[in-house]
């Protein structure tokens, strides 16, 4: 197996630890500083040797509307949000009912609310949840601090974080704002710890775990993966929730000798990417559903003219403009089948925030290796969730192209029929290797051809180079060998892993098959992975069960196969998947 195609094997979450997590949400209206508070809390947790994640949700307003920061903390790496909210901290209640479904308060929840904020909106109330009121405003005013910093202290204390970790986090974020600001903030945090002690906060525990950690979003990780692979050109057209990838690259690429250019639209961004890739530079673009739809014609051009190319699609709820700020796994169909004609190409999906790095890097590698476009299906959840992860291993797959060798006097056959289907490629500058890249069907030399035998030969070549390649064990992450299998892909792998850990503790023998490589699908590898499974649960976040249909089309599934799929905007929770597994308990 080519080492590039070795599974990086991110740690499955510690099953025991998954139960000892804390889900904490902070809600408030525009300007109340909810997001900063959440980010600092996560930072503090990482400093205290914890793992955690931060997701955010806002109202429809462009700026200044209500917001909620949801933080989940634990002793082991986390894969997803929890089933319910343990602690809800409300700076105010303005429009907070909008978040009812996302917050999912339960009977065990503790609600801590600013005393002057009035009553909790009925839509949020959960039977059994305990509500306490705290004077965040008054406390803050007394010490000339900000209420959200008091809330930060309160939250950190409730999470059992040592105050020093919070001080470190605050210093990192506010360090540039001067000593006075810093001091006021620290005083507010301390006041928050004071409030918490009155509520009976647990004792602080700093974990001894000293493994180096990163805090990163999936969008940043995708950008980094591309740069690690060697991507040096990007063309961008802004779109939520993919913009951050391009913004990260706009800063990063010039530093590594590359460049990013903003295009007039997605038709231009994909074709600029194709141009740069044709020129020999590993290249990419990033977009979301509507942009991908505009790119499919030109992706077909890259397929036919065999130009390597990376497209990251950060999926959001569709169809059409849909819900731009919310996650969904509903672009699988278009990613695999959205190109006209018989158009084989690569489709991959990262299995976690951390895996956005490896999968994007591997996709860039495969694209160059196989001279084909690779679409990476990330999503809003992976892309915008901020996650504490173990520092990733260095290195990884590189984008390296099979180049045409120096001229031997014979006419250069750009689309030569080789055993692997990959034909050595020339790039401008190479003497005597000129050719015309073409989206018309062509002979081996690249000249247009409408002959049946050329069409068939080139179709077979383009299929076989992908289908015949050895993708190693990176095509999927397979965990366990139970007689039930949960088959999933992309970001849903997170809640699946946690659900399976719980189900195993309830005695179920379950394996997880989480596909990273979605096209080409290998029926034989799938069959091997499914071997001996008497029941299969297929899980994905879309309405029509796109992945389930794809599996049916390519693999034999046991009669006892259940498809669990539902659309966004709410992320999958492990509990939903555990419920679906109960039929086998």
């Amino acid at each position: 197996m080519d080492s590039a195609n070795r599974n990086p094997g991110p740690p499955a979450p510690d099953a025991a630890a998954a139960d000892s997590t804390l889900s904490l949400a902070i809600v408030g209206s525009g300007g109340s500083g909810v997001m900063t508070t959440g980010a600092m809390l996560l930072d503090a947790a990482a400093r205290a040797g914890r793992y955690g994640l931060l997701t955010r949700s806002v109202g429809p307003q462009i700026r200044g509307g209500e917001a909620v920061a949801m933080v989940r903390l634990g002793a082991a790496p986390l894969a997803c949000n929890g089933d319910t909210c343990d602690i809800l901290l409300a700076l105010d209640w303005q429009n907070a009912e909008r978040f009812a479904a996302e917050l999912a308060l339960g009977p065990h929840s503790l609600v801590i609310a600013e005393e002057s904020a009035g009553d909790m909106p009925p839509a949020l109330q959960a039977p059994g949840a305990r509500i306490v009121k705290v004077p965040l405003q008054k406390t803050a005013k007394a010490i000339k601090g900000r209420p959200n910093m008091v809330a930060l202290g309160l939250a950190a204390a409730m999470a059992g974080l040592p105050q020093a970790a919070v001080t470190g986090a605050v210093a990192r974020v506010l360090g540039g704002k001067g000593a006075a600001t810093l001091a006021a903030s620290e005083a507010a945090v301390a006041a928050g710890y004071g409030e918490a002690s009155r509520l009976g906060a647990p004792a602080a525990t700093a974990h001894s775990d000293e493994r180096p950690r990163w805090i990163i979003t999936g969008n940043e990780a995708a950008g980094l993966g591309a740069v690690r692979a060697g991507v040096r050109f990007a063309a961008a057209y802004p779109i939520t929730p993919a913009t951050e990838i391009m913004e990260w690259l706009a800063d990063a690429l010039p530093k590594v000798g590359g460049a990013l250019v903003q295009a007039e639209d997605e038709l231009a961004s994909i074709n600029m990417t194709i141009g740069a890739a044709y020129g020999g530079t590993p290249s990419m673009t990033a977009t979301s559903g509507p942009g991908l739809a505009l790119m499919v014609e030109s992706i077909g051009l890259a397929i036919t003219s065999e130009i390597p190319l990376l497209v990251v699609d950060v999926m959001r709820s569709g169809p059409s403009t849909g819900i731009p700020t919310k996650s969904e796994q509903s672009d699988l169909n278009i990613a695999i089948h959205g190109v006209h004609g018989d158009a084989p190409h690569l489709v991959l999906a990262p299995l976690s925030v951390a895996d956005c790095l490896f999968t994007t890097q591997w996709a860039a590698h495969l694209a160059e290796r196989l001279q084909a476009p690779a679409i990476v299906l990330s999503d809003q959840y992976l892309g915008q969730t901020r996650m504490v992860i173990d520092r990733p291993a260095e290195g990884g797959p590189a984008a390296r192209r099979v180049l045409a060798s120096a001229t031997d006097g014979s006419r250069y056959a750009r689309y030569a029929l080789t055993p692997s289907g990959v034909s050595p490629m020339s790039v401008p500058g190479m003497a005597s290797r000129q050719y015309t890249a073409d989206g018309l069907e062509h002979s081996q030399h690249g000249t247009p051809s409408s002959k049946a035998e050329d069409h068939l030969a080139q179709l077979e070549k383009r299929r076989n180079k992908l289908a015949g390649y050895d993708y190693g064990d990176a095509w999927a992450e397979i965990d366990g060998d139970g007689d039930l299998a949960v088959v999933t892909w992309g970001s849903t792998a997170g809640p699946v892993r946690e659900a399976v850990a719980r189900a195993r503790r309830r005695g179920l023998s379950v394996r997880v098959i989480a596909l990273r490589l979605l096209s080409p699908l290998s029926p034989s590898r799938l069959a091997a992975a499914l071997d001996g499974a008497r029941g299969v649960l297929v899980v994905e976040q879309n309405h029509s069960g796109q992945f389930h249909r794809l599996l049916r089309a390519h693999a034999a599934l046991p009669a006892d196969t259940v498809a669990l799929h539902r659309p966004g905007p709410i992320p999958f929770r492990p509990g939903e998947i555990v419920s679906a597994l109960e039929r086998w308990m």
Partner: protein, 286 residues
């Protein structure tokens, strides 16, 4: 930017003198006998021979149409993309490989209709590309539908009795959008066209050459163009206001370089930093 390619950027060799024939392939054009595009091909080869760069350092990019078939007939690197997208492909090549000579070429349908947005934004972006449009005022490849430059009364199956629309003025639009070099040529004058094309390639930034190139099959009336064209009666200008006035009232048959600006070509800043990858990664540490 192309780490993989350093090997081929070898020491410069003495430049051999090249002839137009060195820039042509022996692929037989699919064009109709008498098509204006044959002459444009000849002019391109003449211009490239005059400039004398090795063919492998030149890329000719096109979209789809009769005229867009030209890359296959030129012995440089070529890219025959999809309809309307020649300019972004050319932009991607030039921005990532600034040392190459990049030429985009195609038809009036490809460039002004489906490709209109890239035309606008390429003029504005001002990347160092020469863009040659073989304007025959018709969709040749799809057998005779009106293009943006077609006269309003021209009768066709898709627009019986004519479109009734005012023709598009590509030069005025190029100017308003910011093109740095604007010229008009006529395929019936291959030497003059070659001179203008060479000049367009030499000029920094985005150079736009509208080449009147008759479609003898679907617009046999365009054979008359040879009687209508004339050298522009005014001299080259670099004043956009004056050029705008001229181009807004131009009848479409004045040949020559009609505007030459002084904007610097766009090239994105690339500022390599030592050990940049490490520094980028460090930002994710606590």
């Amino acid at each position: 930017m192309t780490a993989t390619l350093t090997a081929i950027e070898a020491a410069p060799l003495p430049v051999p003198v090249r002839a137009p024939a060195d820039y042509k392939t022996d692929v037989k054009p699919i064009w109709c006998p008498g098509c204006g595009d044959y002459s444009v091909l000849m002019s391109m080869a003449m211009a490239l021979a005059e400039l004398g760069r090795p063919p492998e350092e030149i890329v000719v990019v096109s979209g789809i149409g009769c005229s867009s078939r030209i890359p296959a007939y030129v012995n440089t690197y070529g890219f025959h993309g999809v309809h309307g997208r020649a300019l972004p492909v050319a932009t991607g090549i030039k921005l990532s490989r600034p040392e190459l000579t990049v030429i985009a070429a195609g038809g009036d349908g490809d460039g002004y209709s489906i490709g209109g947005n890239h035309f606008l934004h390429s003029c504005r972006r001002n990347v160092d590309i020469a863009y040659l449009v073989m304007d025959n005022r018709v969709y040749g490849m799809t057998k005779g539908q009106p293009s943006p430059t077609t006269e309003p009364e021209w009768d066709s199956d898709l627009a019986p009795g004519g479109t009734g629309l005012r023709p598009f003025n590509p030069l005025a639009i190029a100017l308003a959008a910011g093109a740095n070099f604007i010229a008009r040529a006529f395929s019936g004058d291959p030497a003059g066209t070659a001179r203008i094309v060479a000049e367009a390639i030499r000029a920094p930034g985005f150079s736009f050459v509208e080449i009147l190139s008759p479609c003898v099959t679907f617009r046999p009336d365009e054979r008359e163009w040879r009687k209508l064209v004339r050298p522009a009666p005014v001299t080259e200008t670099s004043d956009p206001g004056r050029a705008a006035r001229r181009l807004m009232t131009d009848d479409g048959f004045n040949l020559g370089i009609l505007y030459r600006g002084d904007r610097r070509a766009y090239q994105p800043r690339s500022a390599p930093v030592a050990d940049a990858e490490r520094a980028l990664e460090r930002a994710f540490e606590l």
